[in-house]
Symmetry: C2
Subunit: 199 residues, 2 copies
């Protein structure tokens, strides 16, 4: 690609390493970036460096944050007796957006996947078990994804916690609100049937 400048080619190559960004999108982004006012480009580059350098895991719930203890774990308004277990910080953010969950979280940073060689020791599970010993937890809500890995992880965690006597629950799976039955896969339809509630 010597018809671009070397620096532009380097930028395209860096951008195309990002997830979901192909060569075409990387080109479009790179041409956009070099056409930005210099201070905007600097701000973008700076925000990358700053976010990467300041990021750490919350000592308590393991979510990505820039503090030792994240704002949620630190908040006195959150109920410390309920922990929702999620696969990653984006899932935490998704539940936070509902504005209706008032407990704390625990972020596993992954899910158990024998196919990918990811075992229980590779996700932040021992940190969860440690919390259950020191914190006064009454319920653990497992909100891992409804995928094979997510279900495997949920089963594993529930077996691990049950002997402690702490209540373990799993978020419901079924037909999404507003979903059209016609377009929903059979496994979900069966799950929705099994999980039916009396009206």
């Amino acid at each position: 690609m010597d018809y671009y400048s070397d620096d532009l080619t380097a930028l395209i190559s860096e951008l195309s390493k990002l997830p979901g960004i192909g060569v075409k999108s990387a080109q479009r982004l790179a041409f956009h970036i070099v056409s930005l006012p210099q201070e905007s480009a600097e701000r973008l580059a700076g925000s990358i460096t700053k976010a990467r350098n300041s990021i750490r895991y919350c000592k308590c719930c393991q979510t990505l944050t820039d503090r030792e203890i994240c704002p949620i774990c630190q908040s006195p308004a959150r109920d410390p007796s309920t922990i929702m277990v999620v696969e990653n910080s984006r899932d935490l953010a998704a539940y936070e957006k509902t504005g209706r969950y008032n407990g704390r979280y625990h972020v596993l940073h992954g899910a158990i996947s024998p196919a990918l060689g990811i075992g229980p020791a590779d996700i932040r599970l021992k940190e969860l078990m440690a919390r259950l010993q020191t914190e006064d937890v009454k319920e653990v809500i497992i909100a891992t994804n409804s995928s094979l890995e997510g279900e495997t992880t949920a089963m594993y965690i529930s077996k691990l916690i049950k002997p402690t006597g702490i209540k373990v629950s799993r978020i419901a799976s079924g037909v999404p609100v507003g979903g059209d039955l016609e377009y929903i896969d059979e496994v979900t339809l069966l799950r929705a049937l099994e999980g039916r509630v009396e009206l």
Copy 2:
């Protein structure tokens, strides 16, 4: 979004300003970036700053490059008597990828659009006219897009050049190779019919 770190929120906001990147994609990219090894994140940030700071317009063809004269204009292997006029550097790159065009280029950085208030003075047209006076050009191939703006620009340029006696041509428009007639719009179909060639 105070459930993320401030720096992460800032990064998400910067990324979501990029074209074609919505908030969801920006989140996914940001979480990917902060999970990168520190040197990879630095390399990405550095490539943005470097590309933006070194970018300039080729003094001859106006393409984006990091030199005073771009590699194509400087190459003795390229035929200086043919100039292909394109709207932007990405279009130049698209023709370069064919590996079959051996002339030079001229990049307009836009197209005439009365609707958007972009006139002939807003694109690099006078630079093209200046080249025609100093360089020994025999043919100008207009390869602007086949959109309303592209066609308007092509007409305008051809009227401007015709009096100089230099040959002006326009790339063919018609059915894309491998295109299924059934899915092609009527304007293109009619254009392909008008432009039919004898076999």
